[in-house]
């Protein structure tokens, strides 16, 4: 026990110095979602399976869809990624999502003509 205590005196802290030293998330981490509008076919399986109704797919024109995420509702389970038959959704490593303004938690992935 005493050896452990003396050894710890000279060690640097076990905690990470967070804001200065950023944490690297592992691959396939379930962070903020990314949506690829050009792949979406509008089947709305993601909307149907989402446990918290955080995702909405809107039809803006023929075969053109946009996704609206409510990040304050999202629980980052990534079930929508599994449910999507066309792989139009993807989780990212982005975890720093805290906001003071609630409106900023609403993320819209609108359809862009160029992206096709």
């Amino acid at each position: 026990m005493l050896r452990e205590v003396l050894g710890s005196i000279f060690k640097k802290p076990a905690t990470n110095l967070y804001p200065a030293q950023k944490l690297e998330m592992p691959d396939k981490f379930r962070g903020k979602l990314k949506f690829y509008p050009e792949k979406c076919i509008g089947c709305k399986m993601c909307m149907r399976d989402c446990p918290t109704n955080a995702i909405t797919i809107n039809k803006i024109a023929e075969n053109k869809f946009e996704a609206v995420f409510d990040l304050s509702r999202c629980i980052y389970c990534a079930q929508c990624v599994d449910s999507c038959p066309k792989k139009a959704l993807e989780p990212t490593k982005d975890v720093e999502l805290a906001q003071l303004d609630k409106n900023k938690l609403r993320v819209v992935f609108s359809y862009k003509e160029k992206s096709r």
């Binding site: 205590v5 592992p26 981490f29 399976d49 629980i75 990534a78 079930q79 449910s83």
Partner: protein, 411 residues
């Protein structure tokens, strides 16, 4: 239990010693506890009812959030039960992955408990050390599942993510680090006289009391009762793995500490075996969205003890009834027994020793009469009848209207 000499102290529902809101009413005579009334219900969230309103896929994530620590336990138990109703045969690889995640969860839960127990007896260094080591297993869980808590690993018919060779190597490396650390904790727990003196003879629960009060998990095993669902009713891959059920005959908080610390070593053994024997093949089979009508009861050995889920389906996309019996509900009666005739100062560690999770446990309709300690648990129909009678006295009476409408319908 109630006389003029006794003194009652309410502890909770909001109290610095409690991590979750829960009401304890302690009857004291001097320093001695005469009896404890535990009042559940402050953390009731209506999850069972909410599960009836959601589809089976959505329910996995809801049920996972019954508990923040044993989330994989609840979701596996639910998924197993649903698979039994649907008659699905889950691929062997999926069962092994479930087992590995379950044991990683047990490791993180027991390390967390060790820290909390240390904190409750004033040994905060142990809290710092065991929580530092817990980070190792949390990082592994984040690496394998993509989340530190609420892993979202299960789906009906299998698991959602595979374990790659590289990840398996990472897990094995972490197991070596943790095994070395755990051996040190075993040495501390069995040799340090301060810990032995502080925890011995505290919260005694004899073997007979365990059988009488139906305690589960490490609480039961620390009293010499070999009760473990992993062996008694093997699920997932446990039937194909060899490990020991750790028991102890100290029957007190010290015994519970020893059981949990030694169980860590068994968990490392299980994880190593499962990774070595990980069968090849698919990780999930396609499950139907509509589960055929039927009912099933699932059992699972969560870190805190036996977890029981009952699911009844009616052939639609949503379950008709989901019933959850978390391990803390089974152990909470034992706490009452352990505290009788003990000192008030031992209460925090005795309550902490069952590793309580009140948000898992809360349920019940209970009425307490103000000014007295009498209370009763009433059923839904009698509460319904009581409500109608009470409003009748206030002048809201539907009986005349009922008769009028009945007469009109008859015409």
């Amino acid at each position: 239990m109630h006389n003029s000499e006794e003194f009652r102290i309410p502890i909770g529902p909001q109290h610095p010693a409690l991590k979750e809101p829960e009401g304890f009413s302690v009857a004291l005579k001097g320093e001695k506890i005469l009896g404890v009334d535990i009042r559940l219900g402050y953390n009731h969230r209506g999850i069972e009812k909410a599960a009836e309103e959601r589809s089976y896929i959505q329910d996995i994530y809801l049920i996972e959030r019954v508990c923040g620590i044993c989330s994989h336990s609840h979701s596996t138990c639910f998924v197993q039960t649903v698979e039994e109703i649907a008659g699905l045969t889950v691929p062997a690889r999926a069962l092994y992955i479930r087992t590995i995640i379950a044991e990683l969860e047990r490791v993180h839960s027991h390390l967390l408990w060790l820290g909390v127990a240390g904190h409750e007896i004033g040994f905060d260094t142990l809290l710092m050390y065991s929580w530092r080591d817990r980070e190792v297993v949390m990082d592994i869980l984040a690496l394998v599942t993509g989340n530190r808590v609420n892993y979202g690993m299960n789906t009906i018919g299998g698991v959602r993510r595979d374990i790659s060779l590289q990840q398996a190597q990472e897990i094995l490396k972490a197991m070596d680090i943790l095994e070395e650390r755990t051996k040190y904790y075993i040495e501390v727990a069995t040799n340090e006289t301060t810990i032995i003196k502080r925890l011995s003879g505290v919260g005694v629960l004899s073997r007979e009391d365990v059988l009488l009060l139906d305690a589960v998990g490490p609480t039961a095993r620390a009293s010499g009762v070999k009760r473990d669902v992993r062996v008694d009713d093997p699920y997932a891959a446990y039937g194909e793995l060899t490990f020991n059920v750790i028991t102890d005959d100290h029957c007190d908080v010290y015994g519970r500490t020893v059981v949990r610390v030694k169980e860590l070593l068994e968990s490392y053994k299980i994880i190593r075996q499962a990774l070595k024997n990980l069968p090849a093949g698919p990780i999930a089979i396609r499950a139907p969205r509509k589960i055929p009508a039927g009912e099933a009861l699932g059992r699972y050995e969560a870190p805190r003890g036996e977890d029981v889920h009952y699911v009844k389906s009616n052939g639609t996309e949503k379950p008709e009834r989901v019933k959850i019996r978390a391990p803390t509900l089974a152990n909470v009666q034992a706490v009452k027994h352990m505290l009788r005739d003990r000192f008030l100062a031992d209460m925090p560690i005795v309550v902490a020793a069952i590793d309580p999770c009140f948000s898992c446990t809360d349920r019940m309709v209970r009425l307490a009469e103000q000014g007295s300690d009498k209370s009763k648990i009433i059923s839904w129909p009698s509460l319904h009848a009581y409500s109608i009678e009470w409003h009748k006295k206030q002048g809201i009476d539907f009986s005349e209207l009922n008769k009028k409408l009945a007469a009109r319908l008859a015409r």
